[in-house]
Each structure stands twice: as structure tokens, then as C-alpha cells.
Assembly symmetry: C2
Homo-oligomer: 524 residues x 2
């Protein structure tokens, strides 16, 4: 165990300035591993440098990758980009201040007390994570989210807002403006305002890129904030996408940005031992044999970080989950991410982590400052926070005894700057890991397939309904598929017709048979 | 594609009575797979039968496994057990009714409007899932949870409750009564009530087993409800652990129980094709080669089912994540579970599911009834719910095209009975899968290791503090470890001392050095 004290110190990254340590001593790096990886890491550092300078790292989409500039506008490659970032930040702060001071207020008077955020994916996960990590009863507004196209989910949110809708500011976020879930959420919100006798436009704000469908549709709204092609959805949290909600809720956006900026500086170091993101990327690489053979289990011991695993699920899996490498070879790369929070998960799935398959590595996040005023002694000399900390140490120990790998990120405290650091740390680790395995971390070609398949299903529904109406008799799913000119789609047609028949007023009734092929559907 | 229509129907489980279909046609079962698995399945059915009759399926802990009796008390092996279940249910309903009618009310008058649930693991995940799945603005009380030992998390909940604490009913749930997180949550709650000038006991209810520490401590509280050795934490949702919160929030507990009971009946069928849980267990077995080689990704297309993956994470991973099989061989079994909700996750990690490693299978959950009153048309003839449904179909199709396995559970509607069904379906699938791979699904030996390690850390903290105080000079972590008689624990001592030093008033200050070995800590 004296060995562990030595091993711990040998590979430890520690920065008093950042208030952060990263400990990879339990990852089981073989002797000389960091040296052996010096060459590939040097290439990854170089690629990152080129990327930050504004190269088209996203060649198939011809976009730059600019999220690092958001927290250091002086690094943007053109004065126009720098100015766009700076003036967007100023506009965000100015608008939030005006809302807080009541200068921007609901038609008919009063104050905006609620914030309804409409967006999905990169337009939702960042704001949701920030809200949970920094929020509480003291927020300047009460946040609500529409992040899907589930009408039941929509209805539940509007019921919760209730009479408060009049004092609710809606923020619709979609870079392209073409995301159907967000478009539907916006339409559902508009309908809800109208049912309450309110106009939507004077309650609504858009965050979108110039020229998008949403940009046009929101011309008469309260305000428009920009998005840019050179910021990807999953790294957009320090653009208006994340900063506007943060500022409206009353979080210190300058501190968020400062934390991220300082971490960016620390992770530009082209020396692995002095670069926490490089150590993190190497830990992933070693654990998964450079092929994602092990899942990453994220275990922050702090309730406020519960959504971090969900944020990372998108950041890591959408960035690294790729079929082709940069040379066009089929590689099927990726790293699966899941997690929740400690010590809670000790009572859920940590049984499997200790005793089950060796198919993961754990990322422990320790926060030293318990952060909650006067501590409560629950045993003599022992506080609730001591227990939380003790459970982290104990669980980590129990995993190590079972030969399971883990790394530990220690934060001095959890404030806005630390949250900014955490996000920037993983941003950079994702970029460096992508460099190590030679993939493009900044596109998402596989997402299109699902969207297009869904569009075909929506189109198929129209054809099937038409076929059913003109048939004038009950049809089986196969008959309806044939009548719609899609005989190969009988199974999808079956699901479509069952869905329509399950919802009154949609024009379809079902006569159940003994099996799917025997169900008959009629135009009602 | 006509093939898919045939394949779909061949292996489909469909029950009009349950309003449920289970489709494993995209799991890639080889020809004759179900027949080939007939023998092992027969053994699993037999083991389940013996278990339900009350055998000691938990031989190392000498407990029966009785969660099936909770929803069909007439099946309990003894009249005492039957009576215990029935009278607990009656007491739950009686108490909830009395609270709703105001017959049980806060000291000083008024009504109980808030419900503070204090528990962790099996005592939290069930109530949390039920609350999200069935709750909304119409709940009879407003729920809050303490499910950790994070003082900052505790403080946040009490801030949110605010002045409402006087009208808050606290329910403390711990079967053994010895769970530290729950004990700490209870102490934090008591302190919060006392700070507000309120007595805790007349606001508090306990759910625990007779003779436990909590049972003794709660003797003077408002009410006590039973837990029993023969119900495990992760299957306790249909005991008072889940039913009391459900009843207090106003959910129809009889419907929940009915759904589970009917699913139990359907899954007692010793014929795989006619048993959805058997098909589910075989799907897991095939996908993971009987060794958990693939993760289970749970994708319900309904906001209300977002926490189901978290519920299943515990149920599946704590049950199946085992080092030894029943013959004592090292097997390191398990199935990793993660997920969130569709179509939201299409914009997060589905990029990786489609293009990344083939290391998972997806469980789609389709709900046919959109469940939200008057539908909103977002395109001509197309509703928000059509899009949700279309995205499910499209994503499933996109995964299938990439050769990724999935299965689909279709529910006619999502109500309390359906939620009961879903839970019971997975309860049984876990039991049958455990039978197939020959492990005990009803203990959790690995959890103890983490708890014991944590206890040692807490004890170490006391020794270190004593050593530091008597040293009379600043000590390094290694010196403090040596002085505490634990020279091998320098790294843990370093973390302990940093944690104490980060929190004012804990009696430790730190003089930072250039490295952990050079930091010096003093008793303040």
C-alpha cells in the first residue's frame, strides 16, 4: 500500500490554481505507458492546435470547430467571429438584466418568473446540466423544459406551469431551425399560450442561426440570439444556447466562462503529464484498448452533478461513436457512458461493478468542499459530508480490490468556475482521444439515418390513411401496405395503424383478430 | 421486407388482455433457437416455481423471495405472510385516506401538502419511478426525495420546501434500519424541522422491519409500516416502500397491483413462446452470449418512462451482477443497463448506437395511446404523437439496417396497471435469466465490501484527527498515517485531510506544498 502512495503521486495531475487533481493511478497503466504513448499524443496535440486555429476539422461539412473560442474570443481566427462571440455575450447579459429588472416584462404587466426552454439534444442537455449543477431555490426564474415531441410530456409541463404561463418566457433553441421535436415543442407552446388567451410572440425568444427557418419565423418575437455553424450542438453550452438560460436563471456566466477558459489553457500543454485532458484521454484509451472495449461509468459524489453523466453521454458518444476513421476505414469506434451519482448508486448497480464483468472503468468525481453551511454531526466528530466522502473512498477501494479500473477527479469546490472546468476538461479529452484513434469527433453522420427513416414513416402514414379511406372496407396491415404502394412495409404499417387506432379522433378503428395479420383497420 | 412481416409475427408475444406485445424479431435469433433453449428454459421455469412456493432461494442469507406474493397474497406460503401483506396494504390505504381527508394532519393544524421521502436504493428508485411515471400537477401531495448523504443536496431540498416544512410529512424507509445514508437523511430532516421550531416525530412515518434500529427509534412517530426479510430492496416497490408513497400521492395502488398480478400470471406460463418474460430473458441471453457481452439500452418513447432505465439499472445489475454461480464457480456475470428516453436520445448517443461498436442491444418501449387529450396537428394530418411514434419506428429501422439488435415492447396505454405490468415483466425476466445462467439473483454480496471499506475510512478519520491533535506540529499525510498506526493508508489519509481542511470549522488547516507528500496539515 506504500506503493499506492508512490504510484498516486507519480502520475498525479495537480493544480492549485485550478483547484483540481486528476489521479489515474488506479487505471493500471503498464510501466512506461505514458512514454510509449508520447508519439501518438504529440500528433493529437498537433491536430488540436490546428483545429483551434480554425482549420476545417469538419471537412465533410465544411465547418470550423469553434467552441474553444467561445470562452476566449481573442483566439477566434477572424475579427468577425471574435466580434460575434463578444456581442452575443453582451446581448445575453443585457437581456437577462433587463428581464431581472423588469424592463422586459410580460404583455399586460408583471414579471417573467418562469423560463420555458424548448430544445433537444445539444440545445437541452447543457442548460439542464447547468440548471441542476448551479440551481436551487434562489434561482431568478423557475425553469421548465420541453425536450421531446411527446404530447403527454408537453401537457404535463403546461399543467405544472398552470396560471403562471402569463409570466413565462419561452426560449426556443435550434441551430438549424429544422429539428422537428423543437418545432413541435414550439407549436405546442404557442397553442398553450393561445388557449390561455395570450400571444406567443411577445413571450418568445429564439436562439438560432441567421437564415434558418426558425430565424424567419421568430422575426417578430421578443428577441433573437445567434448560433453559428462553427459551434456544434453538443459543445454549444458556452454559446447563447447555454449562457442565455444560465444568465436568466441568475448563474454567474463570467465565472463559467473563466473556469472553462482556464481549463482550456491548462489542457493546451503539449506534455501529457502536465495536461489533465491528455491523461484522461490516455486513461480511456488504455481501459478500452483504443476500441471502446470498456464502458465509462461516471460517479460524481455530489447530487448537483447527477446530470453530468447524461451530458457526457452526448458529448462522448456522439463525438466518438463513429463508423469510419479519417482514412475511411470501417472502425466502429465509440465509448459507452453511463452513471448517476454516489453514494446513491452504491445501492443500485455497484454490486455488478464489483462482482460482474470487467467491462467498464469508473470516473469518480470528488468535491472537497461540502458546500452546505454549518455541518451536521451525525456521529461524534463525523458529518454527513464525511460519510459521502468516506463512501467514495470505500467504493473506490472495493473496486480496486476486485481489480476494476478507476480514475478520480478531485475538485476543491463545486461552483460555476468548476462546472466550466469540468465541461472544458472533457471537451478537450474527447478531442485528444479522437486524435489518438484517428476519427472526426465533430460530425454525426449516423443521426441522419434515423431522421430520414422517421420522415419516411411519417410520409408512409399519410399514404396509408389515404389508402384506408379510399378502400371503403376494412384492411389488414398487409393489404393497407399494398394499397399504399409499400408492400414491404406491412410491419411498420401495422404499428402505424395500431397507433392511430389507439387514439380517438384519428380516423382509424381496429377490429382485433387473433394475430397481427388478422387485425383489420377501418377509416372511421 | 415481407420476410420481416413474417418474422415479426412468428415470434411475437401478443396479449389483448394485457394490452401488450413483445417483439423479438430484430434480435437475430438463429433458426430453431427457441427450441434449442427449451431444456434450459424448463429448468428456469421449474426453479421459479419452487421460488414462488417459498423455498429459501436466498440460501446464504436464509431468506425467502416473496415479492410475487405482494401482488397476490393468496399465494403466500403461510397464512401469517398473507395476513401481513393484506393488513399492510389496508393500513397504507387507510393512512393515505386519513391524510387526504385531513384526519391525520400537522401539529398546529392545516394539511399535509408535501411528502418528503427519505431512503436510498430500493427504498428510493421505486417511489421515484412511480412518481415520474404516474405523477403530475394533479398529485395529492408534492414529493421531495433525500436519497444520498450529500449535505448540499439535503440543503437544496429543504430550501425548496421552505416554509412548507410545517405541512410536510416525512417517510423514512430502511428495511434494516442501518443504512447510513438514510439515517443521515433522517437526522438532517430532524435538524431542519427543529430549526423551523417543529418537532420531527409527529411529522414522521417509518417503513422498516420489526426490531430494526429504525423500528425502535420511530416508536413515537406518527405511524410505522412493515418491511419483511422476504422482500428484497430492489423488488420492494409493491410493499409499503412503494405503495405508501403511491397512495399518498394519489396513485391507484390497486391498479398497480392488478397490472403486476396479471403480468405475473402471464409469465408463469412454462411455454417460452407464450411467456413474454421468457422471451425477454432469452433475448438478453442471446444478445450477450449468456455472459452479458452486450449492454442493454432502454429507450422508452414517453417522457414519463424516463426513470425506468434507472429503475432497471438497479433491478437488473444488482440481481445479475455476480461473481459466483450457484455451484461456486467464478463467473463474473451481469448485464449493464443504461438509457433515457426517445426521441430525445436520438440527439445524444444514438449516433454511437448506429455507427459505433456492436456492444449493446436496444429495448424500445412503444406506447400506442398518446395520452394527452385533444391532439395538436403540427403538419396536415400529423400530430406531435405521430412524430414521437415515427421517430421510434425510424430509429429502430436505422439500427436494424446497421445490424444492431433490438426488441420492442408495445403497450396499449401507459396507466398504473401498465406500470405494474412493466415492473413485473422485468422482475420475472431477471429471475428466469438468473435461472438460465445459474446464479442467485436475490442477494448482493458485493455491496458489503464498499460499505465495510467506507466504515474503515470513517474510523481512520477519527484516528487521524487524534494523531494530528496530539502531534502538536504540522504533519504530512504519510506522517499522519503513521501516527494513526496506518502507514499503508497515506493516500486515503491525504484525501481525508484535504476534505477536512476544505471545510471550515472541521479543525484542520493545510499548508500546500508542491506535491501531496509536501502538503502539511495542522490541527486548527
Amino acid at each position: 500500500m506504500a506503493d499506492q502512495w508512490t504510484r498516486f503521486q507519480e502520475s498525479l495531475y495537480r493544480s492549485e490554481e485550478l483547484g483540481l487533481e486528476l489521479d489515474v493511478s488506479r487505471m493500471g497503466f503498464p510501466e512506461g505507458y505514458l512514454d510509449a504513448m508520447r508519439q501518438p499524443m504529440a500528433a493529437a496535440f498537433q491536430a488540436m492546435k490546428v483545429l483551434e486555429k480554425g482549420s476545417l476539422a469538419n471537412p465533410d461539412e465544411e465547418w470550423q470547430v469553434g467552441h474553444y473560442w467561445l470562452r476566449a474570443p481573442e483566439l477566434a481566427p477572424t475579427p468577425e467571429q471574435r466580434q460575434a462571440i463578444e456581442s452575443a455575450l453582451a446581448a445575453v447579459k443585457e437581456f437577462a438584466g433587463a428581464v431581472h429588472r423588469g424592463e422586459v416584462s410580460p404583455p399586460g404587466g408583471g414579471r417573467y418568473r418562469n423560463l420555458l426552454l424548448i430544445g433537444i439534444g445539444g440545445s437541452a442537455l447543457g442548460p439542464q446540466f447547468l440548471t441542476d449543477a448551479l440551481g436551487g431555490a434562489g434561482m431568478r426564474m423557475r425553469p421548465f423544459f420541453l425536450d421531446n415531441t411527446d404530447p403527454d410530456g408537453f401537457a404535463r409541463v403546461f399543467e405544472e406551469i398552470g396560471e403562471g404561463l402569463r409570466e413565462t418566457l419561452a426560449v426556443v433553441t435550434s441551430k438549424s431551425g429544422g429539428t422537428k421535436e423543437t418545432r413541435n415543442g414550439m407549436l405546442a407552446a404557442r397553442a398553450a399560450y393561445e388557449r390561455a388567451g395570450l400571444e406567443f410572440a411577445p413571450h418568445a425568444v429564439a436562439i438560432t442561426k441567421e437564415g434558418s427557418q426558425l430565424h424567419g419565423a421568430s422575426a417578430e418575437w421578443l428577441r433573437q440570439f445567434p448560433m453559428w455553424d462553427w459551434v456544434g450542438g453538443r459543445t454549444s453550452v458556452f454559446s447563447p444556447v447555454g449562457l442565455l438560460p444560465a444568465a436568466l436563471l441568475g448563474f454567474p456566466v463570467d465565472e463559467l466562462l473563466r473556469g472553462a477558459r482556464e481549463m482550456d489553457q491548462a489542457t493546451r500543454q503539449a506534455d501529457t503529464r502536465a495536461n489533465p485532458a491528455a491523461l484522461l484521454a490516455l486513461a480511456w484509451h488504455h481501459a478500452g484498448n483504443g476500441r471502446g472495449d470498456r464502458d465509462m461509468v461516471v460517479l460524481p459524489y455530489r447530487d448537483r452533478l447527477q446530470l453530468f453523466s447524461r451530458y457526457l453521454q452526448q458529448l462522448v458518444m456522439e463525438s466518438l461513436g463513429k463508423r469510419l476513421d479519417l482514412r475511411g476505414q470501417e472502425v466502429h469506434q465509440g465509448v459507452a457512458v453511463y452513471g448517476n451519482k454516489g453514494s446513491t448508486d452504491q445501492h443500485a448497480y455497484i454490486q455488478q461493478l464489483r462482482d460482474g464483468p470487467d467491462n467498464f472503468f469508473a470516473v469518480f468525481i470528488e468535491v472537497l468542499d461540502d458546500g452546505a453551511g454549518e455541518p451536521l454531526e451525525v456521529d461524534p466528530g463525523v458529518t454527513c459530508g464525511d460519510y459521502l466522502h468516506g463512501f467514495l473512498m470505500g467504493t473506490r477501494q472495493a473496486l480496486a480490490e476486485a481489480g476494476r479500473a478507476s480514475l478520480t477527479i478531485s475538485l476543491d469546490r463545486l461552483d460555476a468556475a468548476a462546472v466550466g472546468q469540468l465541461i472544458a476538461l472533457f471537451d478537450r479529452a474527447v478531442g485528444l482521444y479522437a486524435g489518438l484513434i484517428g476519427i472526426n469527433a465533430y460530425h454525426q453522420p449516423g443521426v441522419e439515418a434515423g431522421k430520414k427513416a422517421a420522415e419516411r414513416v411519417i410520409a408512409l402514414q399519410g399514404k396509408v390513411m389515404e389508402a384506408l379511406r379510399s378502400a371503403g372496407r376494412p384492411l389488414t396491415a398487409l393489404e393497407a401496405a399494398e394499397a399504399a404502394g409499400e408492400p414491404g412495409e406491412a410491419e411498420t404499417v401495422y404499428h402505424l395503424l395500431r397507433h392511430l387506432a389507439a387514439n380517438p379522433g384519428r380516423g382509424v378503428t381496429r377490429d382485433a383478430g387473433g394475430a397481427p395479420a388478422e387485425d383489420r383497420f377501418r377509416a372511421a
